[in-house]
């Protein structure tokens, strides 16, 4: 199908053709198991070590600090469970924000059933986590704090460095390490990242959010950080992640990381005005529309609005009939009927939360596509509002 408009880049991105090209030899030609001692194994081993350098480079880490995973979810799960199990004897308290991805929140729930205590720190109406609130949540039992780098639904970028500073201070006071994890799935490859400057011990990435393939991700693990492996088995990834390496996926991830490092600045320079045009258009052309997330401290590609009186899926379906792909809430949960926990956390009432739309822009996005949305959405909203029992203007 051609002529479709994809504005759901936060859900997933197309694999860049150059990335796919880098991967291709590793399926049927260079297929050795990297753990094998023979030439077939040595050539794929070299390929994954080169990719490790590329991924490390994207976040200014050392290659040996990168462990490849099957995606962002595994990276998040590995971070939480890995630190929790390895530090059980030092404490059983975990802190995360209210707007973390379910890969963090549901994993924290799992640990809660296994004897851990979890504090969920709230956010303000813009979706910002307060470093002070994190500081106050820390107890003598806290072993891990997890706050995402930027939220996948509303695009708010969190003050990770400031949070790391308060954690650092409390670590000193307590005389014992409190680990800090950030889920950078929405920022890696999109915003410049330097792990030392951010001050994090652990950082999650997922390749398919940065024009790499699906099913591959990484966890940055600061040198010296001990964590219990999540996948148990062979000695791969320096005994930190068992299972035969997804060689083509890793190679693709490396290529995507390289490409992102090169094109990030240029991409963002293109996306920012498009994002702002869309925000301005939606909020001025359609009455009773509000922008969700912080007005300026937000991802350069994220637009999230609530359209009062109507529901999100019905807007999405109408847009889809016109070939426009957007999302309401996060892709992972769009099969669910619950309103987004993120939108509730920023204080939206249920019916407004149900009426949210997310447009996330990317490499392929053109101004014509933004104009198309601004042309097509208002009549859709109008039609749905006229159907809605909540719309004051609907009753004659």
């Amino acid at each position: 199908m051609s002529n479709r408009t994809y504005l759901d880049f936060a859900a997933t991105t197309p694999t860049d053709p150059s990335v796919l090209a880098a991967m291709l030899p590793y399926f049927s030609e260079k297929y050795g198991n990297p753990s094998s001692i023979h030439s077939f194994g040595q050539e794929t081993r070299a390929a994954i070590e080169a990719a490790r350098q590329q991924v490390a480079g994207l976040i200014a880490a050392k290659p040996e600090e990168i462990v490849f995973t099957s995606g962002g979810t595994e990276a998040d799960n590995q971070a939480l469970e890995g630190i929790a199990w390895a530090n059980e004897k030092n404490g059983n308290h975990i802190i995360c924000s209210a707007i973390e991805h379910h890969a963090v929140l549901h994993c924290a729930e799992f640990l809660k059933k296994r004897g851990f205590a979890v504090t969920v720190v709230p956010v303000d109406q813009d979706g910002l986590v307060s470093p002070e609130a994190v500081a106050q949540a820390i107890t003598p039992k806290t072993v891990l704090v997890s706050v995402m780098h930027a939220n996948n639904e509303i695009g708010t970028v969190e003050p990770i460095r400031e949070i790391s500073e308060v954690i650092g201070r409390r670590t000193k006071d307590e005389g014992r390490k409190i680990y800090f994890h950030t889920d950078a799935v929405q920022t890696a490859g999109h915003l410049p990242i330097n792990v030392a400057e951010l001050g994090v011990d652990l950082l999650s990435i997922s390749a398919h959010k940065l024009y790499g393939p699906k099913g591959i991700g990484a966890l940055y693990i600061k040198k010296g950080t001990r964590l219990t492996p999540f996948l148990h088995g062979g000695g791969q990834e320096n005994n930190r992640r068992a299972s035969t390496e997804n060689v083509p996926g890793i190679v693709g991830f490396g290529a995507a990381a390289d490409l992102a490092a090169q094109t990030m600045a240029e991409e963002n320079a293109k996306l920012l005005p498009l994002r702002d045009k869309l925000i301005k258009g939606l909020t001025t052309l359609i009455p009773d529309v509000r922008l969700n997330g912080h007005a300026s401290v937000r991802l350069p590609n994220n637009v999230n609005v609530s359209v009062k009186f109507i529901e999100g899926e019905s807007m999405l379906l109408n847009l889809d009939m016109l070939g426009i792909a957007a999302s309401s809430g996060s892709a992972c949960t769009s099969g669910s009927l619950d309103p987004s926990h993120v939108l509730l956390a920023i204080g939206l009432p249920h019916e407004i939360a149900h009426g949210s739309l997310r447009f996330t822009l990317g490499k392929q996005t053109t101004e014509a596509e933004i104009d198309l949305v601004l042309e097509k959405l208002p009549p859709i909203v109008d039609k749905l509002r006229r159907m809605s029992p909540l719309y004051p203007g609907g009753k004659k």
Partner: protein
Amino acid sequence: MSMGPYSAKVMDHFMNPRNVGVIENPDGVGEVGNPVCGDIMKMFIKVKDNIITDVKFQTFGCGSAIATSSMATELIKGKTIEEALKLTNVAVAEALDGLPKIKMHCSVLAEEAVQAAIDDYLKKTTGKGLPGFKPHDEPLQEH
């Protein structure tokens, strides 16, 4: 273009819903659902000689909420009160060539909206409502 997770019939009733709107001075009005679960259906009926002569709806909700509302109005229009009361959520869903499992609760809402409107009509005309009628006010879907 794609039809998403829905049948062609659902998409037709969603994109071109029948009987949308408000009836002035209705003989019965029912409203079911709530903002927490994300679906609200309001149904208006006109009744003459025990026959539903006109029906209109307003719905806040997802694609299947709108489609089931539309289909339910079609299925009861011109029917007697007794026939309309026999309408089940399964019949609505079947008339739409099926609904995704997680959307079956919409058809329940549609059934209940019809009953709520009739309940209101009976209250107004006979002084007492539909025996035993009490719509769900909790989200109905599986969690």
